[in-house]
């Protein structure tokens, strides 16, 4: 006979505030085979866990039902406690009274209590059929794949490589560096961005443990935690990486002009060129969409080939696929800057003197289109008035509801740069809603901006107009003075926010990593697991998880690297024993399960029985994640998931219906 213990958790007032926990515990006592039924404020606390352990030791309990929060939260905690008391941890059943009862039915305490009782009854019924299971151990591949070569990917790669593990760093662009490479200065210290980033970029290139794959994309990821197999597509550069010395003789003879992506399309470069002045690797690349030879036929142009002394140019270069085996993946694909074209009232795209803040960054940068001089794009003259407009595309329900977290500080920095670089009586205005200077040294930076005679207008303009002479003007109501002001200016800089990368859709599909409502990648827990995705072995770093400034990005990248080290350092990991098993007698060999398994964990094997060939499904234990898709798809019921077989689930359904039948089917 089974001896079941029921433990009902109050979760402070989270559950007890709605559900009458005492009644639930009393009710459980009326169910068959219940030896103990108790309730306690915090079941997950040390005294709570001790209650369960004492029940196992003193009352000889052999099934434990815990009515508490979601199993995602504390199932592991309770299993550990149960195991410590000497009972197989898989004889524990969690009943969710928080997310599925008290939080869902806050205004209906009586009905909630009834639902809680029903759920406990179901849990008790199921617990009788639980079987003891053992954890599986699998070895871990001691290397890491880092996707994205911005500052997050660079930092994570360096940390992992310095700890002695091989790293594959994949970057989509022809050079690593990402957004940070495009910036002029960084807040709040006004460090030159290139000066602090380029040494790190070079370190990555030189590090013996890092394999850097630029102009490449991850196209496929198979496997599971500790044993991922990634396929990386290296797109052709049409330049031999080993031969090219980066002299750019080719770019001097190339006749085709293309927009310069690194300079936010403010300038043009040649169809063959090096990505940026401080590109790593410093190797030329041909843009196949523009190059005459690649676009038309073999006979035309080829001037770069003639000019190249190193004989590096190879028009025949083909895409290359690289297969790597890794234990974990760090996602550091970053974010994009909001495209202000969507916000038509501000005239971005229509008026040349309205620019985005990333464009200002390029204009202000010494390696940018103007050599670091701040000039109005329309007439190339030094502006007399510069206006910054905040919250473009962010804190806006029409586009992105979240705060972009960097816009205020970027504007303060750019306003200070404008003051320092132009100086001659330039007037600088910042139109804002709230000034969010929350980080270390940030509010001091705000004061520094105010000290530099930068004027702050508390209010946003509704629309921007252009006068015939090319200058811009707009009305803005200032709540500080309660006056409607008109500002005339020759340069408007829009404080465009950070938005999710377009590639995130593909990446989340590849790795089964989910995204939050704002479109960024979702962390496993917003407070306690901010560095991990919900997929084991996939870690998050930088702005792909949410908009972030450089200090936060670097901190998160180092944290994600530490989490990956934790995974790799043991050499092997324990896996959940909940997996699919095949009843060979029932399997008809229809192969539906192999086609449906997302982890490719089912193979077909052929036996010869009584002279006839017979195909049967076989589960690769180490790969199976126990998701249950095969079990529900199997037409003969041959594949079952341990702990979730038909009998166990049906018993639960019967228990759910039992009371309703007794009440006359109400």
């Amino acid at each position: 006979m089974t001896r079941i213990g029921v433990y009902v958790c109050h979760c402070g007032l989270n559950i007890a505030g709605v559900v009458d926990v005492e009644k639930v515990a009393e009710y459980a006592k009326t169910l068959p085979d219940i030896v103990v039924s108790e309730h306690y404020t915090y079941m997950c606390s040390e005294p709570g866990q001790r209650m369960i352990q004492e029940g196992i030791r003193n009352k000889k309990l052999d099934r434990i039902v815990i009515a508490t929060c979601s199993p995602r939260m504390h199932e592991e905690t309770f299993r550990r406690a149960v195991a410590e008391a000497g009972l197989n941890p898989y004889l524990t059943e969690i009943v969710n009274l928080r997310e599925q009862v008290s939080w869902a039915h806050t205004h209906e305490p009586e009905k909630a209590t009834e639902k809680a009782k029903a759920l406990v009854r179901m849990g008790v019924a199921r617990s009788r059929l639980l079987e003891p299971l053992e954890k599986r151990r699998v070895s871990v591949e001691k290397s890491v794949l880092v996707v994205g070569g911005g500052i997050a990917g660079i930092q994570a790669s360096l940390d992992l490589a310095n700890a002695g593990f091989p790293v594959y760093l994949v970057e989509k662009a022809p050079s690593i560096g990402g957004r940070m490479a495009q910036l002029d200065k960084t807040f709040p210290t006004l460090d030159c961005s290139a000066c602090i980033l380029t040494p790190k970029m070079v370190d990555v290139a030189k590090h013996p443990n890092i394999t850097m794959l630029t102009n490449a994309e991850v196209t496929d990821v198979k496997g599971f935690v500790g044993n991922y197999e990634a396929t990386i597509l290296k797109k052709p550069r049409f330049v031999d990486e080993k031969r090219c010395v980066g002299c750019e003789l080719c770019a001097q003879v190339c006749p085709v002009k293309v927009p310069d992506r690194f300079n936010e399309n403010l300038t043009q470069k040649r169809a063959i060129s090096i990505y940026s002045t401080h590109a790593v690797p410093n190797i030329a690349i041909i843009n196949p969409g523009y190059c005459l030879r690649l676009k038309y036929n073999k006979g035309v142009c080829g001037k770069c080939q003639e000019a190249c002394e190193a004989k590096a140019i190879n028009f025949e270069q083909q895409p290359e696929t690289v297969q790597v085996k890794v234990g974990g993946v760090v996602l550091a694909v970053g974010s994009e800057v909001f495209n202000a074209l969507q916000m038509t009232e501000l005239g971005y795209g229509r008026f040349k003197n309205v620019i985005s803040n990333i464009e200002f960054e390029r204009i202000s940068d010494a390696s940018g289109p103007t050599g670091g001089k701040i000039l109005s794009p329309k007439n190339g003259k030094t502006p007399k008035t510069v206006v910054f407009i905040q919250c473009v595309g962010s804190r806006d329900k029409r586009f992105h509801e979240y705060c972009c977290r960097v816009g205020c500080m970027v504007t303060l920095k750019q306003a200070i740069l404008a003051r320092e670089k132009i100086h001659e009586n330039v007037k600088i205005y910042v139109c804002y809603i709230d000034m969010r200077a929350f980080g270390k040294g940030y509010d001091e930076f705000y004061r520094r901006a105010r000290d530099m005679d930068i004027d702050f207008v508390a209010g946003l303009p509704s629309e921007i107009h252009e006068s015939p002479d090319g200058s811009l003007y707009f009305d803005v109501y200032d709540t500080g003075t309660n006056k409607l002001l008109q500002i005339r200016t020759d340069l408007v800089v829009l404080g465009t926010g950070l938005v999710p990368n377009e590639d995130l859709a593909d990446i989340s599909a590849l790795l089964h990593a989910s995204r939050s409502a704002d479109g960024f990648l979702l962390e496993a827990h917003p407070k306690l697991k901010p560095l991990e995705s919900a997929v084991a072995g996939v870690f998050l770093a930088g702005a792909c998880q949410g908009p972030k400034d450089i200090p936060d990005t670097v901190a998160q990248a180092s944290g994600a690297a530490a989490k990956a080290l934790d995974l790799l350092s043991h050499g092997e990991i324990e896996l959940e024993p909940l997996k699919a098993i095949v009843d060979e007698d029932l399997c008809s060999g229809c192969k539906i399960c192999t086609s449906i398994c997302p982890f490719l964990a089912i193979e077909m094997k052929t036996d010869i029985i009584e002279g006839k060939e017979r195909a049967r499904a076989e589960v690769i234990e180490a790969v199976c994640q126990g998701c249950g898709l095969c079990s529900s798809a199997c037409p003969t019921g041959a594949i079952k998931i341990q702990q979730y077989n038909n009998k166990q689930v049906m018993t639960q359904v019967e228990a759910a219906l039992a009371e309703t039948c007794a009440e006359g089917g109400k």
Partner: protein, 171 residues
């Protein structure tokens, strides 16, 4: 306890506020964080000192007793710029219309123009009166000399339907 306006010693009237909110379908339309875009772009502000952000904030805080009888709610020209551009999808316009309906209900003073417009519609079925226009050749013309068909006054049933629709809208 609670909030009071020290200038007028007024207290928030939450009941009246909720009545206005119910008219516009809940709190979403006054969910304002005071970015002031509505007032910066308000067509009526430059002429008549209408400050939509103040109206929204007053409704939000519950200082609504004065609003239906005040002139400012009638100055909105319903250009709807504020509705289109509000980053919080709040809507000063809908709040102002709700306040106007409340004013009519309370039989507060309604500007003559509005009452005129209503009687105009009832009589002719048109919002505006017909006017003669002056062409580029400086000739004064009306519909008749342009050989345009005469516009008939609306049928009687129109007035019944119109009045019914008006009543439904305001309740």
């Amino acid at each position: 306890m609670g909030l009071s306006d020290l200038m007028s010693m007024a207290k928030p009237n939450i009941e009246a506020r909720d009545k206005i909110l119910a008219r516009i379908g809940g709190k979403e339309l006054v969910n304002c964080f005071q970015c002031i875009k509505c007032t910066s772009g308000c067509t009526a502000l430059k002429l008549l000192e209408l400050k939509p952000h103040e109206i929204i904030k007053l409704v939000n805080l519950g200082f609504v007793d004065e609003l239906p009888s005040s002139d400012i709610i009638w100055t909105c020209v319903t250009c709807l710029k504020c509705v289109q551009r509000c980053p919080q999808k709040a809507s000063p316009y809908h709040v102002i219309i709700a306040l106007r309906n409340l004013a009519v209900e309370k039989e507060a003073k309604v500007p003559e123009g509005y009452l005129k417009a209503v009687s105009q519609i009832l009589e002719t079925g048109q919002v505006d009166t017909y006017q003669k226009i002056v062409t580029r050749k400086m000739e004064t013309v009306d519909r008749e000399c342009l050989k345009l068909p005469k516009i008939c006054p609306p049928k009687e049933s129109f007035q019944v339907v119109f009045m019914k629709a008006m009543e439904e809208k305001t309740t």
